[in-house]
């Protein structure tokens, strides 16, 4: 029989790296290799193109960009709003995750879905909703002025504060979901021990819960930060009127300013600048988890039992708090959206005489494309989410457990596409795939496949961070037990590791699926005839000034996603006790 041995260098203690290269395994690794290649290639193209100026290799674009005060300012602004939003969003997310998953919060399950809703509203629509609400003439401000009689609005959403506010509201679900997944696997005995030591629930959270799910918090924060940095829609809509500019808006403008020579290359350079801090953060966060050594392994295969923490008299206070969050983050914007979609024409005074459902009839039955687009989006999103999850688990495992250097580098590379504006990713993808792929001679461009590739490329980072933080929770001995029972490395992962980190896997899927459904910036550049996606349609309507229609369609999409999620939560099988 062929002797299977594992060589030094592979693996801390090596057993995990004993990856059998059998037929079955091979297929898996080829899959990883190919997909990763497909994803990394555009990033390489992007980087490469940023390094060519006036036909020569040079750092000219970087130099020029950095020499411009406006660019530096935009960069600073980007980092500022992103950081603020991340801090706020992460804090909010962690608290909410803990309340809904570890405590006897009233109606925790129901809140869970409600808290996800903001994530289901396409960001630029969400920003719009807040414009409807808090522009100088927004619903809320008008209401306020009528009620209070003041001539000045209550608050205006434009400007950095507004951007941070909205970024936070649309961002917190990411850390929320990631951290919640980790908390679902918390070993209650660890919390109980702390309470036994005399710690009150909040102390327990500060001293035990938070440190133990640090990898998840890190991942959530990182993702939120990166996506905020790269976000275009929200700062564009809320920043422009206040002349507050961030790098992505600048990059967008650069992409469009074709007159200037090499504008695409310049945009690429700007994007790399934008991606740099993200890369840095990623390294830091990896260091954090990498330190591991089972330091976050809360699922140990011993003990268990234990229930939720009883908040006692704080119970209802907590309930009110969560309700407030849901109210602000979800009910208000969705309400605005609904109102807008129900008013006959945009701008007419809100009132019964102007209410109509005709827009819904139009989007549902009047525009033939909508059905097709919905189907496309759902299928693409599902496909992308699934691919991402498979890839993420494999790569995370290889880099965190098997400690493959290659995988660790790959993990970094895969994060780039998420940390630059979608428009740039799209351009990079065109540059990479407009021509048929060498060797195999397949042409992704102008097919639905490039959208799939685009979504996977864009969102794989989400999957990776989520998966690796889930992985950190699984104590090595559980996997060892599977190996000694006769399972190969691959099988041990499938049979033991993945099921135990399932909440993280599930979340990764959701976190990718949802934004992929209403994805806009990539799709708008990459879709081809017959492959329209719902995001493209919504944006198209909006662009043509058919505000009400786009609002109606967004609302429909949100409701669809919502329904889907409720279904998922309902049908989820009874979970074992961690």
């Amino acid at each position: 029989m062929n002797e299977l041995v594992t060589w030094r260098g592979a693996g801390r203690d090596g057993y995990a790296a004993g990856l059998p290269v059998r037929a079955g395994g091979a297929v898996g690794w080829i899959f990883v290799g190919v997909i990763s290649g497909l994803i990394v290639y555009p990033s390489v193209v992007l980087l490469g193109s940023s390094l060519v100026a006036e036909g020569r290799v040079s750092l000219g674009h970087y130099a020029r960009a950095l020499s411009e005060a406006a660019v530096r300012q935009a960069f600073v602004n980007s980092v500022a709003v992103a950081t603020a939003a991340t801090a706020a969003g992460t804090f909010l997310g962690v608290i909410l995750a803990w309340l809904t998953s570890r405590t006897d919060l009233p109606a925790a399950r129901a809140w869970h879905t409600a808290l996800l809703l903001p994530y289901m509203i396409p960001p630029f629509i969400g920003a719009m909703a807040w414009v409807y609400l808090l522009s100088p003439v927004g619903y809320l401000n008008r209401l306020w002025m009528q009620v209070s009689g003041f001539g000045t609005p209550l608050a205006v959403i434009y400007g950095p504060a507004g951007i941070v506010f909205v970024l936070t509201l649309y961002g917190y679900p990411i850390p929320y979901v990631v951290v919640r997944a980790a908390l679902e696997r918390m070993n209650p005995a660890l919390e109980e021990a702390a309470r036994m030591a005399g710690a009150r629930p909040l102390q327990v959270m500060r001293d035990v819960v938070v440190p133990l799910v640090l990898p998840a918090i890190g991942s959530g924060a990182l993702l939120l930060w990166v996506s905020s940095l790269a976000n275009f829609g929200i700062p564009a809509i809320l920043g422009f009127p206040a002349r507050y500019f961030v790098l992505p808006t600048r990059i967008y403008a650069t992409v469009l300013s074709f007159g200037t020579p090499d504008n695409l290359r310049a945009a690429a350079a700007l994007s790399v600048l934008l991606a740099a801090p993200a890369g840095l953060a990623l390294v830091l966060q990896r260091g954090l988890v990498g330190r591991g050594g089972g330091r976050f392994a809360v699922v140990t295969g011993q003990g268990g039992g234990g229930g939720r923490i009883e908040l006692g008299r704080w119970r209802w206070a907590a309930g009110v708090f969560v309700a407030a969050v849901v109210g602000i983050a979800t009910v208000l914007p969705l309400g605005a959206l609904l109102l807008t979609s129900l008013t006959r024409a945009y701008g007419v005074p809100v009132g019964p005489e102007n209410l109509t459902v005709e827009h819904y009839q139009t989007v549902l039955f009047g525009i033939p494309k909508v059905g097709r687009a919905l189907r496309n989006s759902l299928m693409l999103a599902a496909g992308a989410a699934t691919l991402v999850v498979l890839l993420a688990v494999a790569v995370a495992y290889l880099s965190e457990r098997a400690r493959w250097r290659a995988a660790q580098v790959l993990e970094g590379a895969l994060a780039i596409p998420y940390s630059v504006p979608g428009t740039v990713v799209a351009v990079a993808l065109i540059l990479a795939y407009a021509r048929p792929i060498p060797v195999v001679n397949i042409r992704l461009y102008d097919t639905a496949w490039i959208l799939l590739a685009a979504y996977v490329t864009r969102f794989v980072a989400i999957g990776l961070r989520t998966a690796s933080s889930g992985l950190a929770q699984v104590h090595a001995s559980l996997e060892e037990a599977a190996r000694i029972a006769g399972a190969g490395a691959g099988r041990a992962v499938v049979d033991v590791v993945v099921p135990i980190m399932w909440p993280s896997v599930r979340s990764a899927w959701v976190l990718v699926f949802i934004p992929a459904v209403a994805e806009l910036t990539l799709s708008v550049l990459l879709y081809s005839v017959g492959n329209e996606t719902i995001g493209v349609v919504i944006y198209g309507l909006h662009e043509e000034g058919k505000i009400a229609l786009s609002a109606a369609l967004s609302f429909v999409v949100t409701v669809l996603l919502l329904g889907g999620h409720v279904l998922m939560v309902k049908t989820a099988k009874k979970e074992w006790m961690a």
Binding site: S135, F240, R243, F258, L431, R435, L525, V536, H542, K546
Partner: protein
Amino acid sequence: PGPGGTVTLYTSESEDDVNLIVQAFNRRYPNVTVRVFRAGSGPVVARIQAEMQTGRIQADVLWFADIAFLRDLARRDLLVSYSPPSGRRVPGRYHYDGNRYHEVRLIFNVVAFNTNHVRFRPSSWWDLTLPRYRGRVGIPNPFVSGAALAHVGTFVSMREFGWAYYRKLRENETQVLRSNGDVLQKLASGEISIAQVVDFFVRAAKGRGSPVDHIWPQEGSLLVPTPVAIVKGTQNLPAAEAFVDFLYTPEAQSLFAQRSYIPVLPGIPYPAGVPEAERLKVIFPNLDHIDQWREEIRKTFSELFGVQ
């Protein structure tokens, strides 16, 4: 029999318009399938640029609101020179650069206003600078929209406007908004009262019931070119030519009129609310000036308004 096969059209025209045109086209040329890639002119341009870097433009026909880009393409000799038979009677100035790209119908930047907020019907571009509208004036951003850039470029090159006009706008705390879409939306919501925006947008919104309207400024309305062109190296020249030619047929032209655009073909009745041809004062974009001074214009503008 006529041509067959497929033509790919990259356009920034609105969904409905394209569909109508294509349907009509197919009534005449049933064997040609038209594949439409539709997006804002920005993305369309970006896509074409990216395609150019990787080799050839994947479209046969281009049709969008960014004449400067088409000039660029023409200069690189990437466009087919073609004179559509049906377009003979159209004034020559609507066939640019030796018939390389063509105007098929006219849209204008005009002064629009919110009917709830503006009591005195404006009449001139200068109304945007009136103190009574301070802080409630909006114009689209020349950094994002090619049409907007054309507007600035042309106005600063004109004696009666020049940068002075924009300084005044600045003093009036004019909001520089992203796109025409934005401008219209804020106008309709009443967030701004008066704005520079493309005419048909306003008429369409008005038709849908929004409280907006526009006037034809006495100084003239700026023509926003939205030319059509055929890409060199197209796989299906006959069909492409057929499509472009079709756009000049009375049938297509009256379709434009129905959609409240102004047809270029003489003799086609103008849409309601549009003064007839001779009373309509047109300012033509000063493209050479723009080409020459693009960077400076951008620079000055962004210094003036602090946008980018």
